[in-house]
Subunit: 244 residues, 2 copies
Amino acid sequence: MPRFCIIIEYDGTNYFGWQRQPGAPTIQEAIEDALAHIVRQPVVLHGSGRTDSGVHATGQCAHFDADTNLAPEVLEKALNSLLPQDIVIRSCLSAASDFHARKSAKSKLYSYSILNHRQRSPVGRFYCWHIVKPLDITAMEKAAAHFTGTHDFGAFEAKGSPRSSSVRTVTQAKWETDGQHLTFFIEANGFLRHMVRNIVGTLVEVGRNRLAPDDIQRILESKDRGQAGPTAPAKGLFLRQVHY
Amino acid sequence: MPRFCIIIEYDGTNYFGWQRQPGAPTIQEAIEDALAHIVRQPVVLHGSGRTDSGVHATGQCAHFDADTNLAPEVLEKALNSLLPQDIVIRSCLSAASDFHARKSAKSKLYSYSILNHRQRSPVGRFYCWHIVKPLDITAMEKAAAHFTGTHDFGAFEAKGSPRSSSVRTVTQAKWETDGQHLTFFIEANGFLRHMVRNIVGTLVEVGRNRLAPDDIQRILESKDRGQAGPTAPAKGLFLRQVHY
């Protein structure tokens, strides 16, 4: 059976995350259902990883096998004509039989958006975390630098996540600012559950001067979730790109 | 009774426009109801002008009179605690008794956003007009220049709008481009019904090479709505600022 790879953009606001589950709309289910309708057979979609409820993506990647003669570009058009307005297939490609959206991934890039203003903003309110008090962005930039490199991210992993290892390598961790809009970019060879949101929640504690930039080193070494900051809200998080 | 002026941001997606009407949620009604709750008396809100169903604002302005001792900044906080997440009062100020949000306005600035890409984009889909075919932005910029100055905008006014005069002075009409995102800015001493959306619809006809940039002059002179292009969708339009 031919294998296909798709790049997906979605607005996660109205979904219970990526992974199919009974009784709740998910991204995986919406795409699998559309695919099954097109190729007239059940299709299993393998994502590069799960995204949580309310998290967005501009470059999620997934693969599937389907017994079809349809060309990838025809599949792409057919999918987009069936999918709701909050999901779009950006591209559909033929994939090698050994390509695997999760296992073949070399790294992933996430971004996290914050609106740092005394007032909430109605326009775009589903795409950022609103923080009223002015944040110390210089301190947050210093703190962010501590995340690059290979570390045990146990302190930034959701509790109760069984993993063989919580060691990951972060190749990029930086803030970009545009007036009241702060965006955090982080790229790593893999992410633990809630890792980006826990890192952002901790960086915001630094921005509020409740933690010092150099505390990050100590928190990493502690491997203790209780030492890090709270989990940032889902709505500011975007899966930007998966690199293979 | 003291007079107050408020600057309002709203996401118009879920409203039937600005103006109060029976049986349909409107921005005016939402704010009047919140005000009445705070000052315990009916309040009439006078906007700088109406916005249509689905149109957004980051700087709508309105005034009201209320028999209250509350300071403007207290009113602002009270309003924002009552208003839904898609409306926010950006500021509340004391106004002179002869200030009138509509009559005192010297000019208004609108923007209109287009996503020019072969695919729709789920993220931010309520804030732009999606156009698939590549637009000729150079031609659109040339065409836009024809709108500046004092003209009779009869050809760009919604049919059946009775007006003493359709002459307006446009002080700014320009495109800004950022990759696939095109934004049109237009400032004038006043706008006719659907004027911005009709101008954008016509500029897009130029961008599709169905009209030449110099056709704008002819269309303006015709004062004939039938000569201009279609009305652009509401969702790309933002009332940015009212100048007094």
